[in-house]
Symmetry: C2
Subunit: 309 residues, 2 copies
C-alpha cells in the first residue's frame, strides 16, 4: 500500500472505542486500527489530535478526507451533527454531515437518527451507518436487530429507517453483573455450548412472563445461595432473561406482521448469544457482520460526499 | 430510664444500617440508636465490638440479653443463622435463632427464611421479623408488600409465611440512576405531589406492557435529549416503570384470588411512592410502619427465647 492508494479514511468513533480504516477508491480496506480512544478519552485529549496522531503515523497527506460515524458527532463529542428524524433515508444522513472547524483536513461527521413519536422517543448514533450498509447490500424492508450496550431494533421500509426502539439490555447486564448483589453469583462461561440450553430456557421464560423480569433476577442470587447451580449457568440465565425481555418487547414493536425473521447485525460472542435466543423464540435470524456493515455505510456516505465516480 | 428498666436489647442489623432499641419487659422502647455500622462495616471492626461499644455507652449490664434480626445472621455476617424454609411459622423462626460464641453476653441472631421451589428460589433476612410483628398485630392471611432495595411480596396464610417473591426494584433504581446512561437525565423531585401523575401513568404503562420495560428505560434518556421534559419528571417515570413492573409480577404471584388489597410495610418517601403506584394499579393499600413491625417482631421472638411472663 502507498498513500496514493488511499482515497479516504473511515472512522467509527464510539463512546469507548475508536476504529479507523484506510480505504481505497473502490472501498477496499488497506489498513485497520482499533484503540480505546473513544469519545470519553478524545474529549480530554482533543478529537483532532487523536485523529491526526493516527494519520501522522500512517504517513497520510493532509489532502486525504475523513468520514466519521458514531458518538464523535454527539453534543458532547467533537462537534454536534444534529439528528436526522425518522423516517430517514440514506441520502438525508449523508447530506446532514457536519465538518468540525478545528479539523486539519476535510472531515465529515455523520449525524445520528432520532424518533420523536410521543412515548417512543429514541435516538441512535453509529447504527444508522450500519443500516446504510445493510440497505446498500440489498435489504430494503425488514426488521433488523443490532445487539449491544443499547440494543437497537429497526424497521426498514423501502430503504428508509422507518421506526426503531432501543433496549438497555447490554448496559443492564453490565450493571447487574458488575455492581449488583448478583455480582457474587455469576461467572462468564468459557464454552458457550455448555450453557446454551440455559440461555434458551431463560429466553423462553422471559418471553412468556416478562412481568417476572425483576423477580427472576433476584432469584438467581437466591439459587446461588440455596442450590449448587454453577455460576456459569446463572450468568447464562441472566443473559437469557434480559435478551428474552428484549425479544418480548421487539415482538410488539414488529407489529401485526409479527416477528418471523430478523437480520442480526452482530459478531462474535454476542451474535452467538442472540442466535441461541432467536432459536428459543422461534425467530429465523440471518447474521451479518456489524463491522462490515459500518464500513459499507461509511463508503456509501463517502460516495455521496466526496468520492468522485 | 435506669438500666434496671431495660429487659433486653433489640437490634435490626442490616447490610448498611444498624438500629438498636433498649426495650422494657412489656415492649416499650426506652432508647433508640441508628448508625451506619451495617454488616459491611461490622465485618471489619467485629460484630461483638460494635455491639458492645453501644451497650458500654448506654451503661448496660452484661446480663442484659440481645436479640438481633437481619444480615448479621448471614453467612458473611456475625455467625450464620441458617434459613428456615417456607412455610415458616413464628415459633420456628424464634426456635432457630443462633448464638455467636464470641459474644460477651447472651445474644440471639434470628434466621432468615428461604424458599426452595424450583424456579422460584428466594431468600429474606430481616423481613421475616417484620412479618412476625404483622402477624402478632392480627394479620394472619393476606398479601404484604415490603418495598426496598429488594422488595419482598409475601403471602401470609394462617399466620405463616407461605410463599414470597423478591423484586430488585430498589437496587435497579439505584444502579440506573447512579451508574447508567440515565444518570445524566434524572433529578430527585423536591415535592412529590408535582410528579405523582408521572409515577401513576408510568405504573399503569408498565403493568399494561411489562415487555417494554427495558425500552421504556432508554426512552427516558432519549426524551431528555429531544424534548424539554424536566429531569424530575423523568426520575418519577423511572420509579413508576420499575414499581409498575414489580406490581405486574406481584399480580401473577398473588394468584387466582387476584390482588385487590395489600398491606404496605413501609415509611416515608417509599411508602408515598408505593401508595401512588397502588392507586394507579387499582389496588387498595393499608400502610403500616416497617420499623414498628420490626420491633414488634423482635419483642415476640424475645418472648419466645428469654422473656419470662
Amino acid at each position: 500500500m502507498t498513500s496514493e492508494d488511499i482515497a479516504y479514511v473511515a472512522v467509527d468513533w464510539g463512546t469507548s472505542s475508536f476504529r479507523l480504516w484506510l480505504v481505497s477508491k473502490n472501498g477496499d480496506v488497506l489498513h485497520e486500527e482499533r484503540t480505546d480512544e473513544g469519545m470519553s478519552v478524545a474529549a480530554e485529549i482533543g478529537f483532532s489530535a487523536v485523529l491526526e496522531s493516527h494519520l501522522d503515523r500512517d504517513g497520510l497527506s493532509a489532502l486525504t478526507p475523513v468520514i466519521v460515524c458514531g458518538m464523535a458527532g454527539a453534543r458532547q463529542g467533537w462537534v454536534e451533527a444534529p439528528y436526522v428524524e425518522t423516517p430517514a433515508t440514506l441520502s438525508e444522513i449523508a447530506a446532514n454531515a457536519v465538518s468540525p472547524k478545528d479539523a486539519r483536513r476535510e472531515v465529515h461527521l455523520l449525524p445520528g437518527v432520532c424518533q420523536r413519536a410521543e412515548g417512543a422517543y429514541d435516538v441512535m448514533r453509529g447504527e444508522e451507518t450500519q443500516l446504510l450498509g445493510l440497505v446498500l447490500s440489498g435489504l430494503e424492508d425488514g426488521i433488523v436487530c443490532l445487539p449491544g450496550t443499547h440494543s437497537k431494533w429497526v424497521r426498514l421500509e423501502e430503504g428508509r429507517i422507518a421506526a426503531f426502539r432501543t433496549f438497555m439490555t447490554g448496559e443492564l447486564y453490565a450493571l447487574l453483573s458488575g455492581h449488583s448483589v448478583l455480582r457474587y453469583s455469576l461467572a462468564l462461561p468459557e464454552d458457550f455450548d455448555q450453557v446454551a440450553d440455559e440461555v434458551r430456557s431463560a429466553v423462553a421464560q422471559a418471553i412468556e412472563k416478562p412481568e417476572q423480569a425483576t423477580a427472576q433476577l433476584f432469584s438467581l442470587r437466591a439459587e446461588d445461595l440455596l442450590a449448587d447451580t454453577s455460576k456459569e449457568r446463572l450468568a447464562a440465565r441472566l443473559s437469557g432473561h434480559l435478551i428474552g425481555l428484549e425479544i418480548a418487547g421487539a415482538k410488539a414493536f414488529a407489529g401485526n406482521a409479527g416477528l418471523q425473521s430478523v437480520v442480526l447485525a452482530g459478531a462474535g460472542r454476542l451474535a452467538t448469544l442472540y442466535g441461541a435466543a432467536f432459536q428459543a423464540a422461534g425467530i429465523e435470524a440471518r447474521t451479518v457482520d456489524a463491522d462490515d456493515l459500518a464500513r459499507r455505510g461509511l463508503h456509501a456516505a463517502a460516495g455521496h460526499l466526496f468520492l468522485k465516480g
